[in-house]
Amino acid sequence: MTDDQADWQPSLPLPSLSRVDLDALLQELLARVGAVMTSRERLRALLDAVVGIGSDLDLHSTLERIVQAACRLADARYGALGVIGPDRMLIEFINHGVTAQERADIGDLPRGHGVLGLLIEEPRPIRLHDITQHPRAYGFPPNHPPMHSFLGVPVRIRDQVFGNLYLAEKSGGEQFTQDDEDLVSALSVAAGAAIDNARLYAQAERRQRWLMAAAEITSVLLGEVRRTEALEFVATRARDVAGADLAMVLLADETGGNTSGGRLTVEVSVGGPGDAAGWSVAVDGSEFTEVLGRQQLSVVTDLATAADWPAPLSTGTALLVPLAVGGVALGVLVVAYRKDSVPIAEGLELAMVETFAGQAALALERARAQDEREMLAVVGDRERIARDLHDVVIQRLFAAGMQLQGATRLSGQPDVQTRIERVVNDLDTTIRDIRGAIFELRGPAQHSFRTEIRDLVDEAREPLGFRPALRIDGPVDTAVPDAQRTALLAVLREALSNVAKHAQAGAVTITVAIVQGRLSLAVRDDGRGIAAAAGPSGQGLPNMRARAVDLDGVCTVESSTAGTVVSWNVPL
């Protein structure tokens, strides 16, 4: 061969032309080799980028790395990753190359109109010489840096389009090439996997935290549960684990959440307005109706409009989770995110929240059962004491008093009789006091007249500085109609307030009695009398008289320097 060549070469007729071709070919070969080298370098860069983005499990930093890697690979000045939300608009926009100052000047982040929207509609790579010349161009907002060359590639996670990678301004004013497109497409596949990975990891981690929170509640269950503590625990954990900004526990009132006309009260609020605890909202017409009625979790886009809150709330998306035990809705757990933040609420997560809320409801139920048990124990104790007082103490005092009274007759001496009488009177007073104590121990029925009188007298204790003595004779609860009740309470209040303001009394005795078809009230004090007190003391008297006259009754006031007696009585 070598011989042939040696012979052949000089005999070639057109050596110069071939040389030219060869040079060109060599040039091209070299260029190709260079290109291969560049491709290899870029391939290596791609691999590095893939390894880089895959090594992080935090979703946000993964997204940032993807944008950076894409810019480096395609030699672009600007890059961004738009995350598509449930409404097919961009809900997040992570960018690179735009300074913080520029970003602030631009204002609102793109939502996905114009060319960016084109990619959302048709998730296929798109390459443009000049983005501003495209028919779908929407125009840049003021203060936006100029951009022309453009490359957009969708980022998929399996079948789902997660978002789009946008690149602009290839360096040197050049256009993006097919190679750029291929590389960035390759990167986007890797990015999809990395994002998926990070998401699954985050989900697994949150799931773990929900499980831990639920387990914590279970362990709290085994100890002693205080209602408020349990509620605070539930709210705090829910907020932390969900990564939310606000968590509230609302409990249904007595009528229960299952009936209409019910109300919910905010028992505990973490991260919300300071005064939220104690708020009350109507269930009817609110988003809570379904949550309580069907005991189904509900996601609302704006908590502020979910119900008629007493004060404005500035929260966005919220989860309304029923707190239900055995088909009875006790209330609702609300977990809300700040406006414009991106809550990650997917099927799995919602199921976890529901499980957590179920545990929480169980804890509440247990706390309630414990409270109830304690209350029953207290009531049981009081009842036992009341019964002992009634069955033993009163009976003995009564028996002793009767025997003493019998003894009075045996003794002929008047002073002995007087003394015995006094002791018998004391015994009677003691029996009355005990009867009063029994009444209080038993936690009397609400709205009974007897209770109202007692409450009023108790209230007077503070302004007077001592507790007035009270004696009630007759079946006042049964025998006194409403009008007379109201009047008597008003007169008693007036009389006590006069004593407190003007009389400078050291003792007050109140007697309410039913005698011969009339209801009578007497308020007796040992103060300085009306004459000594300044003018205004008499102010209440016309009122008291009027209240007697209205009911065909009478009101008299006797006053001396030794005290005042207000006597008021009306027919029944």
Binding site: E254, V379, G380, E383, Q395, M402, R450, P475, V476
Partner: protein, 211 residues
Amino acid sequence: MIRVYLLDDHEVVRFGLREMLEREGDIEVVGESGSAVDATHRIPALRPDVAVLDGRLPDGSGIDVCRDVRSVDPSIKALILTSYDDDEALFAAIMAGASGYVLKQIHGTDLVDAIRRVAAGQSLLDPAVTARVLDRIRKGPEQPDELKDLTEQERKILLLVAEGLTNREIAERMFLAEKTVKNYVSSLLAKLGLERRTQAAVLASRLLNKR
């Protein structure tokens, strides 16, 4: 002579009452007992003019005793003696079909006078007050208290009780067995909290009903 029977589970109380009454000269205590069951058997046999009955007893209630006795012999008058407050005593007296009530108080309530008036055929219960109680029962479900827990049948029987009918009379009027009426009255007493049972049980049942 007014013949009186005393029912109170405290011997000291019976002793004191007997002493006090017999001192009067016109009153004779013909029998006494500390047990509801005992009294239910002995009172109709002894046929006193007035039976003075403690409202609550360890083995039953003075109200049941009163109703049983008066079903057998409506001519026997009764007074309920109680150490609870007037409203409860009044209601107990009405439920029992008694002629009145006397609070356990040494002064202020004159048992002797009450016995004399009742023996003479008077009722110590104010008709106006009794009417108000009847009214309250009739209003039924509007009442926010224990009365609203009663069934229609129980409410009917309660009205007849409050009108002063004996168990036998109620049984005839409602075409029921006397025993059935007796059971209804017992369950009424329980529902209205007039029998010997703890408030805790009442509260417990309320709490349970609420759920």
